[in-house]
């Protein structure tokens, strides 16, 4: 009898939890991101040079563009924290990728935009040494890029 009771308890608990999840999902309470389809782009992020990173991103025929604005310091005293602000004025900007050419792993981040999100990103990055910061924008299925050199006096990647 006791055993049966315990089984019943377990089933009740299990059933309850499952019911809650279904409720949360139907009420739209689950935060976005859990169901994000895209998997982390391992081949691009683990690429050791810019060419391979771009290949991993599927970026080919990249054209230089003056409509990508990179706002960052010219000389960074601390390579571990470099504020970078990127604005793409290219219509229908779908994604912005940020790379540091001479970092051991050049690809830093990729941002994808939908439904009203503007082609704008402000963040802080690490750089191991003086190098170009490269921004690659995908818009209308084509790729555009711009670069800006940042001089790093103390690197932020090594130990």
């Amino acid at each position: 009898m006791n055993e049966l009771n315990e089984l019943r308890r377990t089933l009740l608990k299990g059933g309850c939890a499952a019911g809650l999840v279904a409720f949360a999902a139907s009420a739209g309470l689950l935060l976005p991101g859990r169901a994000l389809a895209a998997e982390w782009n391992k081949s691009a992020f683990e690429a050791k040079n810019v060419a391979d990173a771009l290949k991993g991103l599927g970026a080919s025929g990249v054209a230089d563009s003056r409509d990508i604005l990179i706002k960052a310091t010219d000389i960074a005293e601390n390579g571990a924290v470099i504020p970078v602000e990127v604005t793409s004025q290219i219509a229908d900007t779908q994604s912005i990728a940020i790379l540091a050419d001479k970092n051991p792993l050049p690809l830093l981040a990729v941002f994808e935009f939908v439904d009203g999100a503007q082609g704008y990103v402000s963040t802080r990055i690490k750089m191991g040494q003086t190098s170009n910061v490269r921004v690659v924008v995908k818009a209308g299925g084509k790729y555009y890029s711009a670069t800006k050199e940042i001089k790093v006096t103390i690197g932020g990647c090594g130990g």
Binding site: G28, L31, P32, G33, R34, L36, A38, W40, N41, F45, A80, V81, I82, P83, E85, A100, N103, P104, L105, L107, L108, A109, V110, F111, E112, F113, V114, D115, G116, A117, Q118, Y120, V121, S122, T123, R124, I125, K126, M127, G156, C157, G158, G159
Partner: protein
């Protein structure tokens, strides 16, 4: 080590400026422990998404070279006061965190 996230969502016109501050170590996996000479294992945020009223508007993938305690500034059009901005991230060890703020 999911420390609390800070989100600010400030409206000007129909454009909301979203600022996010996350407490995270963002270890690249490239650094050596100066005492042992061993590589410090990587531990960084890999995926992050921003939602407006429950709908994903920005999806990001990161490597380890985003600075420790990441800051993020973004802009989304078509928002109004009272809308909900949510941020969710997952790191290389499978840890995750979510937070929400109201547009004001």
């Amino acid at each position: 080590m999911a420390e609390p996230m800070k989100i600010r969502a400030q409206l000007s016109g129909d454009l909301v400026a979203i600022k996010v501050l996350i407490g995270h170590i963002m270890e690249t996996g490239q650094r050596k422990d100066p005492r042992t000479g061993q590589l410090i294992p990587a531990h960084f945020i890999k995926q992050l998404s921003v939602g407006l009223n429950g709908k994903t508007v920005i999806a990001a993938q990161w490597g380890g070279a985003i600075s420790k305690d990441p800051f993020l500034g973004l802009k989304v059009k078509g928002a109004k006061a009272g809308d909900k901005v949510s941020v969710h991230w997952e790191d290389s060890k499978g840890e995750k965190s979510s937070a929400e703020a109201t547009v004001g």
